[in-house]
């Protein structure tokens, strides 16, 4: 069931030479990669400072934006909110690479880049990710000190201001699902929340990538009450899961977090939907428990390939919904010309 095909090699110029997307990379290499990606694709990519972590490291996101005088809407995707879920940052890097390699040749990518800017955050929980490389592979939370430095880490995905602290959390710092001392108590949470809040009227889609379990999860985790656009959210998620399955036969479950996974409050995805971002999804990537967080690197490529199809299905749907009627938006000037 393993697809042996190599990713299409388009312009080697665009992609940092020799960067291996089928390997896991430590944070130092990811930082370097972001700089290189911007340098080799400066017409499309800019690197931005989002904020700082509790240990004072910088959180960067990449903005992929086709130059245009049109106002664009935004697709946001973050990876690595939980340190041990290494396949997640691997996917964000893969996604950027795929877009940059194919945006000239792939009609769907070309179409949506005319209307949408992609904001990709490869590693949200930088401190935690580094800690999982250097100290404890199965670390989950950030590295915020509590109780006079005797206990570390808030679960960033319980720390957002979405029914914070109400269900599926612990108030004890020793727990893996410690929700912090209050909503947005953590600098990483604040960095993301403040940015998204500022841009929320332009953000159509919020995607957050996790592992493992093979799910596409819709709102909410904090309540079983379905979101206002539940039918559409489910329909698009089913489409995405079907596209994903078509690649390597991997089956994903689709549904609300509270019904198919567990109840939890303070998740970023719940918060994004609650502040008005219509298409908000959590992805839980491979596998189904055999390897769990330590997914072997020979599964990076097939996982990323299939996930790419799911994510682009969602982006394409959003693009067609909000920018209907063909890739080129006729201005009144060109319309009158064509009528002569």
């Amino acid at each position: 069931l393993v697809d042996e095909s190599m990713p299409k090699q388009r312009s080697h110029r665009q992609i940092p030479e020799g960067y291996n997307y089928t390997e896991y990379h430590p944070m130092e290499e990811i930082y370097k990669w972001m700089t290189q990606i911007q340098e080799s694709n400066s017409e499309l990519v800019t690197q931005h400072h989002l904020g700082k972590t509790i240990e004072n490291r910088t959180i960067y996101y990449l903005q992929i934006s086709q130059p245009s005088n049109k106002p664009k809407k935004i697709i946001w995707m973050d990876c690595g909110i939980h340190a041990r879920e290494w396949i997640s940052p691997a996917f964000c890097q893969w996604f950027v690479k795929e877009i940059l390699q194919n945006y000239k040749s792939d009609a769907m990518i070309r179409r949506f880049l005319q209307n949408l800017d992609l904001y990709i955050l490869p590693v949200l929980n930088v401190d935690g990710y580094i800690y999982s490389w250097e100290a404890e592979r199965l670390w989950r939370k950030n590295r915020s000190p509590y109780m006079n430095g005797t206990c570390y880490g808030t679960d960033l995905n319980r720390n957002f201001n979405s029914s914070w602290g109400s269900v599926g959390v612990s108030y004890n710092c020793t727990s893996e699902i410690f929700c912090g001392s209050g909503p947005e108590s953590e600098p990483e949470t604040r960095a993301v929340a403040q940015f998204i809040e500022k841009k929320k009227t332009d953000i159509l889609c919020y995607l957050t990538i996790h592992s493992y379990g093979q799910y596409i999860l819709t709102p909410y985790g904090s309540t079983t009450t379905p979101p206002s656009n539940n039918e559409e959210l489910m329909h698009v998620a089913q489409k995405a899961a079907a596209a994903l399955m078509g690649k390597h036969g991997t089956s994903y479950k689709v549904g609300s977090t509270s019904s198919i996974l567990y109840s939890n409050s303070g998740s970023s995805r719940d918060w994004a939907h609650m502040i008005g971002i219509p298409f908000s999804y959590t992805f839980e990537l491979r596998d189904n428990g055999t390897h769990g967080f330590t997914l072997p690197s020979d599964q990076i490529q097939p996982t990323c390939e299939e996930t790419m199809l799911a994510v682009t299905t969602i982006i394409d749907y959003v693009d067609q919904k909000y920018f209907p009627g063909g890739a080129v938006m006729l201005t009144s000037g060109s319309l009158s010309l064509s009528l002569l």
Binding site: L1, Y24, W133, R137, L138, R140, D155, G165, S166, V167, G168, V169, S170, Y171, N172, T174, S175, E176, I177, C179, T224, S251, K253, V254, G255, S258, S259, I260, L261, Y262, S263, N264, S265, D287, N288, G289, T290, H291, G292, F293, T294, L295, P296, S297, Q299
Partner: protein, 277 residues
């Protein structure tokens, strides 16, 4: 008087902290007893129960080459039995634990008892793989391990990058089979497990034909997300039931459930499967 003045704010603080709301655990609506109702096959109750059934299967099969993982739940119903517990009826597909190849479907019932005790499982599976072939593979694994003259040891299997040394694969597969016993016993409607890693393994050389291993295993507990460390002693002889003895670290991370704080459970509870270990 002075002492009282100092004590009052402290008392107030204590009172206030006792009043702090506790995070809730989602409640299930009460259903009519004895009525079998359909479950969404994707629901966590259905999927969780299917996993529990498979833990039971994997333990009883005692076959490192015949381990199964959950494919998809096709049909699920549940019945509430008053005074006894909840019983799930399931039909699901399975995959080979390693290769993800289709391994055939299963029918199972899982009874979660009201009182704290392991779920009662009944499971029957179809085999797409030839059973003789599986037995032969088990025997091959057994022979390979038996040939070792020095005690086998290992740690961090898989490693941080998901790699398992080929020579240690059988030892890992045995750990999955043995862990299935622990995971089956510990599962409830609300709490489930996955075997994450063999932290360490050491072989105890035996004079008889059986293979004996001492493991430290990490189990991923859901929904708490905790990594539970368990010490497991396992004895294997192909064609015979697996013998497992284990003790898991005390779980002092409890999901707040609104019914009062539970203190950490007693550590070092040893559960034996077979006597005369």
């Amino acid at each position: 008087m002075q002492g009282l003045g100092a004590a009052l704010p402290v008392l107030l603080l204590l009172l206030l902290s006792a009043q702090l709301p506790r995070p809730a655990v989602a409640e299930q609506p009460p259903w009519a007893p004895g009525v079998e109702r359909a479950l969404d096959p994707s629901s966590r109750l259905a999927v969780g129960a299917a996993r529990v059934a498979l833990h039971n299967y994997n333990f009883h099969a005692a076959s490192p080459s015949g381990l199964r993982a959950l494919g998809q739940v096709r049909k699920a119903t549940v019945k509430s039995i008053p005074g006894v517990g909840q019983k799930c009826y399931l039909q699901f597909t399975t995959e080979d634990y390693r290769s993800r190849e289709n391994a055939g479907s299963c029918l199972a019932t899982v009874l979660y008892p009201k009182k704290k005790s392991p779920p009662a499982v009944n499971i029957k599976c179809i085999n797409t793989k030839d059973q003789k072939q599986i037995q032969e593979e088990d025997n091959r694994l057994y022979q390979k391990l038996k040939r070792q003259t020095k005690p086998i040891t290992g740690s961090n299997i898989p490693d941080s990058f998901g790699n398992i040394e080929p020579a240690l694969e059988p030892v890992w597969a045995l750990a999955v089979a043995g862990s299935s016993y622990m995971m089956w016993e510990k599962s409830t409607e609300k709490v489930g497990y996955f075997m994450t890693q063999v932290k360490s393994v050491k072989q105890w050389m035996r004079k008889d034909d059986s293979l004996e291993f001492d493991y430290v295993i990490l189990l991923h507990e859901m929904p708490t997300q905790e990594m539970i460390s368990c010490h497991m002693r396992l004895i294997w002889l192909p064609g015979h039931p697996l013998k497992v003895k284990y003790t898991c670290d005390s779980e002092n991370h409890r999901l707040e459930d609104g019914s009062g704080m539970e203190s950490g459970s007693a550590a070092g509870i040893i559960r034996e499967r077979e006597e005369n270990f």
